[in-house]
């Protein structure tokens, strides 16, 4: 009788920064249900991975659920897989972090479960050939990769159904291969269809193994829990009585059948991930500047941590949890377009950074520190302004903009500049959304044509900006008083007229809770320039991740507007309000020209989520608009303060 072996691997994961009510909903819909199923079918063999961030959450809120799982482990129902503490994409990390991510997960797991897992769930199954070392030194014997990774190495379909061994530098790890066709039928088709597919791979020798590995949320969260319960009962009760499909734990399979032989695998992941990332996970860092920003913040914080002579465990734990992958990429779920995930990443990095700074005496009577450093590793240096109260990072060669503004005060840790640019995604075709032509950050200058409206700005109507000030490279001057002055020479371009030379300057002064910026735009050309001077900010109000339904918004003249509301009118002051966080005030303190308008709009992306295409909030877009006519030699000046109300 032809026979096939079957490994059923369920991956439980919720990211760092997940909204508490979402975690609870998923727990109720899916995780409890799966526990029930495991108990009901305790004679069968399940393979389970609980990610580091979720393990932390469950330890805090649902320890009983973990107790039950542990019991099932003891009974032999479940074989547990290790992971990385932050469910981080291991190849994105410095080598030492790869090792530590696994080691810290195993330690945490062992503290609760009392033993060390021998296999490991690779986050997003992102494999790179350098992984055997950090796996092997942590005692990990096997991992699961996807069949697409195997195919990339030139292997054929037949090789998917065996375990293999690979090495790098003599460090070995065994490989199981997740079968993608099985993932497309289980649990989406009837049990019979799934069995038929499985049996199509069966052999007389009976040494093949089909590996299913995917998200727990497929059972109860993606579709309704009633259906999931019915499907699993149907599938498992029938499977229980079959002799031709044999459930295995990975370690048992290895004991019984061993590995097929040596294999070498290139960088890879599952098929869809390869599609989203253009073939290589690291491409996400190139596509999304915000992803690169977080990643390079990680490297920068790591440098500080590594300089500190001694650190409390919290510092490293916050750091490892901030490496959680979900906010660094975008595929089927919101990913990087989910503001609350990005927010949590920054919070944790800022906390870790502060601990490191304190421990190493970073400021040591020389606060603030203004550093020129190629923070984003693009070959040009950024300006990093650092004090005990805030970090402000400026990018001279991208319009002299502010791209990170970390509030470091205790319990208020937050990157106010954690806003997200709207990138081209295949699914926005036909929706009318124009991707942004510049990074949606702050302190960007525009010279709009006089007929430009708020909607032209926020919807990216082409050719409305008649200057190159927005994207120009700005020069850097740092005064002895620690003011930063950014300057550029650009032009005002109108079809049919000679370009007019424009001088632009931003003088930035940092106070404890305030960033004061004096903008000056001067017409140095030979003709008059009629324009709408636009001074642009995008800000990320702090999202309350604990409680559902609290409304964020902004106040104009003491009138509250929810964040999804648009405002355009003559005004100079806006106050961003979010629950449990101080007001953020943006105000034109003074100007050489009287009339100032405010354009305010939610910055929203049409992002793909598990619930379909949704408008997803990325921040509040604010533009100070000044209609001006500048004769040759004339200038307009505006002083704008951004502050945290204390």
């Amino acid at each position: 009788m032809p026979k096939i072996n079957f490994i059923f691997t369920i991956h439980f994961h919720q990211p760092t920064g997940q909204l508490k009510w979402v975690n609870e909903k998923i727990y109720e819909n899916s995780y409890k249900l799966l526990l029930e199923i495991f108990k009901k079918y305790a004679d069968m063999k399940f393979t389970v991975h609980v990610s580091g961030p979720l393990l932390h959450y469950m330890l805090e809120y649902h320890r009983d659920w973990l107790d039950e799982l542990a019991k099932l482990g003891d009974y032999g129902t479940i074989e547990f897989l290790a992971g990385s503490l932050g469910e981080a994409i291991l190849p994105l990390l410095p080598l030492e972090d790869r090792i530590k991510q696994i080691r810290e997960y195993v330690k945490l797991f062992e503290r609760f479960f009392g033993f060390k897992p021998r296999g490991l769930w690779l986050p997003e199954r992102v494999w790179e050939p350098s992984l055997p070392y950090p796996l092997a030194v942590n005692g990990i014997e096997y991992v699961l990769v996807d069949d697409s990774t195997l195919y990339r190495a030139g292997h054929g379909n037949e090789d998917v159904y065996y375990a293999w061994i690979t090495e790098e530098g003599g460090y070995r790890v065994k490989i199981f291969v997740i079968d993608s066709p099985l993932r497309y039928v289980l649990p989406w088709e009837s049990s019979e269809n799934v069995f038929n597919y499985m049996l199509s791979k069966a052999t007389e020798e009976g040494d093949r193994v089909l590996v299913w590995g995917s998200d727990a949320e497929k059972f109860g969260e993606w579709r309704d829990p009633g259906w999931a319960r019915w499907w699993l009962n149907d599938f498992l009760s029938k499977l229980r009585s079959r002799r031709d499909i044999v459930m295995f734990h990975p370690m048992d399979y290895l004991r019984e059948y061993g590995v097929r032989g040596l294999i070498y695998l290139p960088a890879g992941s599952y098929d869809k991930m390869l599609e989203w990332s253009n073939g290589f996970f690291r491409n996400f860092l190139l596509k999304y500047r915000e992803s690169n920003n977080m990643h390079k913040k990680m490297l920068y914080v790591r440098w500080k941590l590594s300089q500190a002579p001694s650190l409390p465990l919290d510092a490293w734990r916050e750091y490892y949890l901030a490496q959680c992958n979900d906010a660094y990429w975008h595929g089927l779920f919101g990913g990087i377009y989910l503001s609350h995930l990005r927010q949590a990443i920054y919070e944790k990095y800022i906390i870790a950074e502060k601990i490191a700074e304190e421990s190493m005496g970073y400021y040591d009577e020389r606060e603030p520190i203004i550093r020129l450093y190629d923070f984003d590793h693009d070959g040009s240096k950024e300006i990093l302004y650092e004090s005990k109260k805030l970090n402000a990072y400026l990018k001279p060669n991208d319009g002299g903009t502010l791209f990170e503004l970390d509030i470091k005060e205790k319990d208020l840790e937050h990157n106010l500049q954690d806003t997200m640019t709207r990138y081209y995604e295949p699914y926005i075709e036909g929706t009318g959304l124009n991707p942004d032509w510049y990074r949606r950050v702050s302190m960007r200058l525009h010279l709009w044509s006089r007929d430009t409206s708020l909607y032209d700005w926020i919807n990216n109507t082409p050719f409305k900006d008649q200057s190159d000030l927005a994207l120009n490279k700005y020069s850097i001057t740092i005064t002895p008083e620690n003011e930063i002055i950014l300057r550029t020479l650009g032009g005002h371009y109108v079809y049919g007229l000679e370009p007019s030379r424009i001088y632009a300057e931003k003088k930035i002064v940092f106070l404890d809770n305030t960033v004061k910026t004096i903008y000056r735009v001067e017409n140095r050309g030979g003709r008059s320039v009629e324009t709408l001077l636009g001074i642009e900010y995008h800000l990320a109000p702090k999202i309350n991740r604990e409680t559902k339904g609290e409304v964020m918004g902004y106040m104009i003249d003491n009138v509250f507007h929810p964040v999804n509301e648009v405002y355009a009118g003559e005004n100079r002051r806006v106050v961003l309000k979010s629950p449990k966080y101080p007001d953020i005030v943006l105000e034109e303190e003074g100007s050489s020209h009287g009339e100032t308008h405010l354009w305010i709009s939610p910055l929203e992306m049409l992002a793909r989520t598990e619930k379909g295409i949704r408008r997803v909030f990325q921040g509040v877009a604010i533009m100070f608009v000044k209609p001006v006519k500048l004769e040759p030699g004339e200038a307009v000046e505006s002083r704008i303060n951004l502050s945290i109300a204390r």
């Binding site: 001057t477 740092i478 550029t488």
Partner: protein, 533 residues
């Protein structure tokens, strides 16, 4: 011996670059050893009533005049007429014709002055190659020929340039490295390359530094390896002379050598940065290139005003300066890549560039102008000659930068050193020899070497050198001193200051002494050794 130095430039007639200094200075030192020396040079419109007419003649309807200008320490024979009077010394579209006219005029002058032929003919740079060739055809083995390259050129001749242009038959016999061969043969063997032809028809190919000899061999052919030697340039200034020149223009300042080598130098720096630009004369800056002058006069954005003059700095700070031609060779493009970074690293720095404009480099000039506008707290550029600022800058400076991509000798380094500046210079050509790296030589050093063409190496070295020198103006171990010293990135410089806080002043004296080692007397001795074979 009667020795002729053929040169397109002389400080006594027209100066554009460092070449103008060499033949008159070397000539004078040779003359002092009992030889009869003349400098042969085009007038470039410089003829004045001090010039004595020696003769005139016509060639192809062009009238030429030959003058003796005997006011300078070495007598000059100045050739005038036609293109030779064009004030733009190196006008690219006329340069070849100018060099050929110069050669023809020299040839006829020599023919008409039989009995006064030279024993040694020492040509300088490719503009002298047609003259060397013409004289070689005329004087044959009765003279010895030396061709000295101060700056390699990519100029190529067509054979017709040399035949029609000089009135020579392609079969004319020429004496050279291959013995007596026809002009055509030497031409073909030279690949038309002016510098190689000059080398082939000379007894020796000369240059100005050992390091640059290697460049010559690599570029002109390994068959010349045994044929190359060098005569180093030498310092043309004394500190007292420079002080005296500056004193004449700024009589109230009591500038003298003692002041320059002591902490009073800071006073002079303050004056230069905050006051001196106001005193630029109405003709300053002097710009010879008409097009460029028009271009500069069109700029009136702060800190420029009134036809290329500059506004003073508003605050005093460590002074970094640079002199020389506005060209890629001088590394201006390297500096432009990182000027923002240098200023951001050392916000207190004041950078003064005194550049001689070259029209072909207008884009680079525009970039410098934009940078001056954007970095107006820190950067000033003077395009053209400013006697008000030139010597004073050397006397007030802290660090001279020479980021040249290549530099056969780099006389400017000696000028910077004799006036007590530390030098940040590319490790190339003569600069590799004249400048002694402090990281290797300690307080006997005179500056720091950087990788030619490497902007980041320039940033690091300049930042460190500025801070190092600035510490000299602060009380050792005071908090102000520590604030500066703690910013120095290079451990060796930091350690040197910790062990000896007076090091910046010792470095100034080491620089001065090092420059004094390069004398024309020593160069003349070497030249005569070479001439005598």
């Amino acid at each position: 011996m009667r020795i002729w130095y053929i040169s397109f430039e002389s400080i006594y007639t027209r100066k554009v670059g460092g070449l103008a200094e060499v033949p008159p200075r070397l000539g004078k030192a040779v003359m002092d050893r009992g030889h009869e020396v003349y400098i042969l040079t085009p007038s470039h419109g410089s003829v004045s009533e001090d010039y004595k007419l020696l003769g005139e003649f016509r060639v192809n309807d062009r009238k030429y005049r030959v003058y003796l200008y005997d006011k300078p320490p070495v007598p000059h024979i100045v050739f005038s007429g036609g293109l030779l009077d064009d004030p733009e010394v190196y006008s690219p579209d006329k340069l070849l014709d100018k060099a050929l006219s110069f050669a023809q005029a020299i040839k006829i002058f020599t023919e008409e002055n039989s009995g006064k032929e030279p024993d040694i003919i020492h040509g300088n740079d490719w503009h002298s190659v047609p003259a060397l060739l013409a004289l070689n055809s005329l004087l044959k083995e009765s003279a010895k020929y030396y061709y000295q390259i101060h700056l390699l050129s990519k100029t190529r001749f067509r054979l017709e340039d040399l035949t029609y242009g000089l009135g020579l038959d392609p079969h004319t016999l020429i004496t050279g490295i291959q013995g007596r061969r026809t002009l055509r043969e030497y031409y073909e063997y030279s690949w038309g390359l002016a510098d190689r032809l000059g080398a082939l028809i000379s007894n020796k190919l000369l240059t100005v530094s050992k390091d640059y000899s290697k460049t010559l061999i690599r570029r002109l052919g390994f068959d010349l390896e045994e044929h190359v030697d060098y005569i180093p340039n030498a310092i043309t200034w004394t500190l007292d002379e420079v002080c005296s020149r500056a004193r004449k223009l700024h009589p109230d300042l009591n500038i003298d050598a003692r002041m320059i080598m002591g902490s009073d130098r800071e006073f002079l720096r303050r004056y230069l940065e905050i006051e001196a630009p106001r005193h630029m004369g109405s003709e300053e800056p002097l710009i010879y290139d008409r097009e460029f002058k028009k271009f500069i006069e069109g700029i009136d954005e702060y800190p420029f005003h009134n036809g290329g003059k500059i506004q003073p700095f508003t605050r005093e700070g460590p002074l970094v300066f640079m002199t020389g031609r506005l060209s890629r060779q001088k590394g201006i493009h390297v500096l432009l890549k990182v000027i923002g970074e240098i200023i951001a690293n050392t916000p207190e720095v004041r950078i003064l560039l005194l550049l001689l404009p070259v029209w072909g480099e207008r884009r680079m000039a525009e970039e410098l102008i934009n940078n001056s506008i954007l970095h107006h707290e820190n950067l000033r550029v003077v395009f053209g000659v400013s006697k008000t600022l030139f010597h004073l800058t050397h006397l007030a400076g802290d660090v001279m930068m020479i980021p040249s991509t290549y530099e056969p000798f780099g006389l400017v380094a000696l000028e910077g050193m004799i006036t007590g500046n530390a030098i940040v210079a590319s490790k190339t050509g003569g600069l590799a020899e004249t400048v002694l790296d402090i990281r290797r030589y300690g307080v006997k050093g005179t500056g720091l070497h950087i990788e030619p063409g490497d902007p980041w190496s320039l940033v690091d070295a300049l930042t460190d050198m500025v801070l190092f020198m600035e510490s000299g103006y602060h009380e050792p171990w005071s908090s102000g001193w520590w604030r500066i010293v703690s910013r120095i990135g290079d451990r060796r410089l930091y350690d040197l200051l910790i062990s000896n806080p007076r090091a910046p002043w010792i470095i100034r004296r080491s620089s001065h002494r090092r420059a004094m080692e390069y004398t024309w007397d020593k160069s003349a001795e070497k030249a005569l050794r070479i001439y005598m074979g």
